[in-house]
C-alpha cells in the first residue's frame, strides 16, 4: 500500500499547507474533539462500571436477566385397593382482572374472520356468563366493580377453573383479564371415602385425614430452575442454567374398596334417616388380613367442600367416636371365660329376669320368664343376668387383662389423625357396680374400630391382626413399597374361637340377630344396645349396633354397623338390614362362595322345646 503522498501534505503543519486547505483542518480537529469527548465519556463509564463496583454492577445485570422458577413437586395420588383414584392434584386457574385498567370498549381479533373488531364490556360479560356459570350481575361486580365503589387493581373473577374454561375466558379478550395457575386437589369420588381422605386448605396445605397424616409421603420436595432471559422473555440459550429437579410425592394406596365404601355409605345414610340418629357408621374388615375395606359414615365430608360439614364429621366417626358398646362387649367376657375354662357353651343355667350379686341388682332389658338355658343361649338372647353369672367366675383382673389384650382402651393407629383410644380404667378404679357392668359392655368406651378388632380376633381362629388402612406407597417411578404386614398375634385358642363362632351363629339362628341372616351364607355375630351417657353424665340415649362375620365356619369378612342415639322406641331399632346390605355387597364384590355346610348353632334352651317367646 503506497502511502498517499498528496494527503500527507495536508497534515503538515507548514504555513502554506494550512492556508491551502483550512476547512479540512478545522473539520478534522472538530471530529477529533468529538471522538475524544466520546472516548472520554466511554472511558468514564468504563471506569464507573469496571473501576468502582464492578461486581455489584455485574450482579445487578445478571439479576435483571435471571429468572428463578420453582418446579412444584407433584403431590401423590391416593388410590383405592383396585388402583382407582380417590384424590389427585389437578391444574386449575384463578381468573383475575385489574379494574383500574379496564376500558368500556376494547378491540380483539375475531376468531373466525381474523379481523379486528370492537367489543364492549357488556358484550364480553355476556359471553363470560355461560363460560363461568355465574350471573351477569356477579360478573359485572367482579370485572367492572360495583357502582360507586373504588376500582380494585386485583379482583377475582373466578377461582379454580379448568384449563379449558380459562382458555375460553381469555379468548374473550378483555385486556386486563389474566389467569394465575395453581394446583388444586381433585376428589373424583366426591364424598365417597371423604372422611378417610381428609382435605386440603384453599392455599394447598394438608388439613385433615390421610392428606394430613401422609403429607410427608404425598408432598415430595419442590425443585428450582434458574435461567437467563432476554428482553422478550425468551431464554438465552448459551447463558447459565441451573436445574434442581423436584422430587414428586409418593402415591398412597389404601385397602379401601370404593364400591363397598359407597354401598356402605348409602346403607348407613338410609339407616340414619330411618331413625333420625345422630350418626350411623360401618366398618368392613377382611378377617384374615385385618385390611379395612370400608369406613362409612352417615355424614361424610366432601373433601372439595369441607366447610359444608360439621367439624365432628370431618374425620370418620369409626375412629373418633367412642361409646359404650353394650352387648357386643359380651364377646370379650364369654371368650375370656371359655379360654379360662370356667364355662362350656352347653352348660345349663337357670336365668331369671333379675339377678342380685354383692347387693347390685342386674336386670335384663326386657322382663321375661325364668328359663332353663345354655351358656350359648344366654349369649344368643343377650341376657345380662346370665352374663354376669358367667363373668363373675373370673376375677376382675383376669377380665381386664383379656380385654386389654383385645385392644380395648388402646389407640388403634391406622394412619388417621385424632383416633380415639376410648376410656377403659384398670380394675382398681372400678366401683362396685362397674365390675359387673363391664361384663356386658357398659362403663367403658370404645370406637367401632375397636369392636371390629375384637371380632376379628375371635373370628380369625383366635389370631389378632392389627387393622390396617394403608396398603402400599408407590414411588414416582412406579416401584411399590408395601407396608409391612402386621405381626399376627394369637390371643385365644382355636377351640375358644370355634366355640365363640358357633355361639355367634346361634345369635343369628335363634337369638337377637335373626334379621342379620343372609340367604345362602352362614352368618354369625352379636348385637348390642348400649346406653349412651350424655354430657351431664347420666344415660340419656342409646347406641345400637351389630357386628357379624361370614362365613362363620371360616370367616372372610366382618361388618360392624353402629347407630348412635336413634330416636323412637328402642324395640324397633335394628341395624340388621344395614348389616346384610353391606355384607351382601362385600361377599358379592369379593366372590365369597356360599356356605355348603349346615349351621352348627348350639341349643338355646335345655330340653326339646327351643321355641320360647321373649316375654
Amino acid at each position: 500500500m503506497a502511502a498517499p503522498r498528496t494527503g500527507t501534505a495536508g497534515t503538515r503543519t507548514g504555513d502554506d499547507g494550512a492556508r491551502q486547505q483550512p476547512r479540512t483542518g478545522v473539520r478534522l480537529r472538530a471530529g477529533l474533539a468529538v471522538a475524544l469527548v466520546m472516548l472520554l465519556v466511554l472511558g468514564g463509564r468504563l471506569f464507573f462500571v469496571q473501576g468502582l463496583d464492578p461486581e455489584g454492577i455485574a450482579q445487578a445485570a445478571v439479576k435483571n436477566r435471571i429468572r428463578v422458577q420453582t418446579i412444584q413437586a407433584e403431590r401423590g395420588q391416593i388410590l383405592d385397593s383396585a388402583g382407582r383414584v380417590l384424590a389427585a392434584s389437578v391444574e386449575r386457574y384463578d381468573l383475575v382482572v385489574n379494574q383500574r385498567l379496564l376500558k368500556p370498549e376494547f378491540t380483539r381479533k375475531n376468531q373466525q374472520s381474523g379481523e379486528r373488531e370492537k367489543v364492549t364490556i357488556d358484550q364480553a360479560i355476556a359471553e363470560l356468563v355461560p363460560l363461568l356459570d355465574q350471573d351477569a350481575e356477579t360478573l359485572r361486580a367482579s370485572i367492572v366493580g360495583r357502582e360507586g365503589a373504588e376500582k380494585k387493581g386485583y379482583s377475582y373473577v373466578a377461582k379454580g377453573v379448568t384449563p379449558k374454561v380459562r382458555n375460553a375466558a381469555l379468548a374473550v379478550g378483555i385486556p386486563s383479564l389474566t389467569s394465575e395457575q395453581r394446583t388444586e386437589r381433585n376428589y373424583p369420588n366426591g364424598s365417597v371415602a371423604g372422611s378417610i381422605l381428609g382435605f386440603m386448605t384453599a392455599d394447598g396445605k394438608a388439613a385433615e385425614g390421610l392428606e394430613l397424616s401422609q403429607d410427608a409421603a404425598l408432598g415430595g420436595t419442590d425443585g428450582k430452575k434458574t435461567y437467563e432471559v432476554g428482553a422478550d422473555g425468551v431464554r438465552i440459550p448459551m447463558a447459565t442454567m441451573q436445574e434442581v429437579d423436584a422430587v414428586d410425592g409418593q402415591d398412597v394406596r389404601l385397602t379401601i374398596n370404593s364400591d363397598i365404601q359407597w354401598a356402605a355409605q348409602e346403607a348407613v345414610m338410609a339407616k340414619q334417616k330411618q331413625f333420625n340418629a345422630e350418626w350411623v357408621n360401618a366398618v368392613v374388615v377382611e378377617v384374615k388380613t385385618g385390611k379395612i375395606r370400608a369406613l362409612a359414615d352417615s355424614t361424610t365430608v366432601d373433601p372439595s367442600d369441607p366447610g359444608a360439614t360439621d367439624p365432628e364429621f370431618r374425620t370418620s366417626t369409626t375412629v373418633t367416636q367412642a361409646f359404650e358398646p353394650g352387648s357386643t362387649g359380651k364377646v370379650a367376657t364369654f371368650a375370656a371365660a371359655l379360654e379360662e375354662d370356667v364355662v362350656e357353651p352347653t352348660e345349663e343355667f337357670t336365668v331369671k329376669n333379675s339377678y342380685t350379686i354383692q347387693n347390685e341388682k342386674i336386670n335384663d332389658s326386657l322382663k321375661h320368664a325364668t328359663f332353663q338355658m345354655t351358656a350359648a343361649g344366654i349369649f344368643a338372647r343377650s341376657y345380662n343376668t346370665g352374663t354376669v353369672k358367667i363373668g363373675s367366675r373370673l376375677t376382675n383382673e383376669q377380665r381386664y387383662e383379656w380385654m386389654k389384650k383385645l385392644g380395648i382402651g388402646e389407640r388403634i393407629d391406622i394412619g388417621l389423625p385424632s383416633s380415639n383410644p376410648g376410656i377403659f380404667t384398670p380394675p382398681a378404679a372400678w366401683d362396685r357396680r362397674q365390675q359387673f357392668t363391664t361384663m356386658f359392655g357398659q362403663a367403658y368406651t370404645q370406637t367401632a374400630l375397636h369392636t371390629a378388632k375384637v371380632f376379628q380376633t375371635v373370628g380369625n381362629h383366635g389370631v389378632q391382626v392389627e387393622p390396617s388402612l394403608i396398603e402400599a406407597y408407590i414411588s414416582p417411578d412406579g416401584t411399590e413399597h408395601p407396608v409391612a404386614e402386621p405381626e399376627p398375634r394369637r390371643i385365644f385358642s382355636e377351640e375358644t374361637s370355634e366355640e365363640m363362632r358357633r355361639m355367634m351363629e346361634t345369635v343369628v339362628d335363634a337369638g337377637t340377630g335373626t334379621l342379620m341372616a343372609i340367604d345362602g351364607y352362614r352368618v354369625g355375630g352379636k348385637s348390642g344396645t348400649g346406653q349412651a351417657a350424655g354430657p351431664t353424665g347420666g344415660y340419656d340415649g342409646h347406641t345400637s349396633s351389630f357386628a357379624g362375620m361370614v362365613p362363620i365356619d371360616d370367616p372372610q369378612y366382618l361388618v360392624v354397623v353402629t347407630m348412635h342415639r336413634p330416636k323412637g322406641n328402642w324395640r324397633s331399632w335394628s341395624v340388621g338390614d344395614t348389616f346384610t346390605r353391606i355384607m351382601s355387597q362385600t361377599l358379592n364384590t369379593y366372590d365369597v362362595a356360599p356356605s355348603t355346610t349346615k349351621s352348627r348353632a348350639y341349643k338355646v334352651f335345655v330340653g326339646k322345646n327351643q321355641k320360647y317367646g321373649w316375654d
Partner: protein
C-alpha cells in the same frame, strides 16, 4: 511498508550520515564548493514496484473472507439456536395443551367411574338391584340359597350423590359435565342390538319356576329377527318407553324354551 532499509546499499566507506533520504542511491560525494550550498533537494528515484504486494493482498483477502465466514457461521448458529429456543417454547405450549386435555379427560373418566355416578347412570337406564342369587356346587350338584327376582322398585339409591348435589351449588363450574353430555349423545348414535340371550337366572330348588324378565314394568322390547342375527340398528328413533330414561334401550330378555 513503504520503507526500505539501507542495508545492502551501504556506500563504500562513506559515513551513513552523508546519505540523505531513505530511498537514495549511493552517491559519490561531489567536490566541495566554497560557495554556500544551495538548498538541497532529496533526489527522487524510481522505486521498483513491490513484488510481494499481490501475495499480501491475497492473504488479506483470505483473512477477511475467513472473518466474514466465521461471523456468518456464528450468526447462523445463533439464529438457529434461538430459533430452536422458540421452537422449544412452541412445543412446550403444545405439550402443555395436550397434558391439559389428557388431564381433563382422565378426570372426566374418574368422575364417571365413581360408584355414585355408575349407580345414578344405572338407575337412569332403569336398572334395579338384583334379587338374591342361588348357586350350584359343581361337585355335589346341590343348590345353595334361594334365588329371587329383582323388583322393579328396587332401583339403586343415590343418597350420597343427592347430598353432594345439595351441598354443591356454585362450586360446580366445571364444564366437564356439559362435555360429558355432548359425548354421551354422540356415542349413543349407533347402538348395537345386544345378542339374543336367554335368562341366566338359575332355576331355584324345589321346582320354583324360572324367573321372568328382570323388570316387571319393562316391555318385552323388540324381538330380534328370526335366526338370531343381531340386527344393527342405525338411525333408529327409540320410543321413550324403550329408552326408559336412558340413551339406549335395555336388552330384550327372552324366556327360556322348555
Amino acid at each position: 511498508m513503504g520503507i526500505r532499509t539501507q542495508t545492502g546499499v551501504e556506500p563504500h566507506g562513506i559515513p551513513a550520515s552523508a546519505v540523505d533520504g531513505a530511498t537514495a542511491r549511493a552517491l559519490v560525494p561531489e567536490p566541495r564548493h566554497d560557495a554556500p550550498e544551495p538548498r538541497r533537494r532529496t533526489a527522487l528515484s524510481v522505486v521498483p514496484a513491490v513484488v510481494g504486494g499481490r501475495r499480501l493482498q491475497f492473504a488479506l483477502f483470505c483473512f477477511a473472507a475467513m472473518l466474514a465466514a466465521a461471523l456468518a457461521t456464528v450468526l447462523v448458529l445463533n439464529i438457529s439456536v434461538s430459533g430452536g429456543q422458540y421452537e422449544v417454547v412452541k412445543l412446550r405450549n403444545q405439550e402443555q395443551a395436550l397434558v391439559q386435555e389428557n388431564e381433563a379427560l382422565a378426570q372426566q373418566a374418574q368422575k364417571l367411574e365413581a360408584p355414585q355416578s355408575v349407580a345414578a347412570k344405572a338407575a337412569e337406564l332403569g336398572m334395579v338391584v338384583p334379587g338374591s342369587v342361588a348357586s350350584i356346587d359343581l361337585e355335589t350338584l346341590k343348590v345353595a340359597g334361594t334365588s329371587s327376582e329383582a323388583k322393579a322398585e328396587e332401583s339403586p339409591t343415590s343418597l350420597v350423590a343427592d347430598r353432594e348435589t345439595a351441598a354443591r351449588d356454585t362450586a360446580a363450574r366445571d364444564t366437564a359435565a356439559r362435555d360429558t353430555a355432548v359425548g354421551a349423545g354422540a356415542s349413543a348414535a349407533e347402538p348395537a342390538a345386544p345378542p339374543a340371550e336367554t335368562a341366566g337366572t338359575a332355576p331355584a330348588e324345589e321346582g320354583t319356576p324360572a324367573t321372568g324378565p328382570v323388570t316387571g314394568t319393562e316391555p318385552a322390547g323388540e324381538r330380534l329377527p328370526a335366526g338370531g342375527v343381531p340386527a344393527r340398528i342405525v338411525d333408529t328413533e327409540f320410543t321413550e318407553q324403550e329408552l326408559n330414561g336412558g340413551t339406549i334401550p335395555a336388552p330384550a330378555q327372552q324366556q327360556p324354551k322348555n
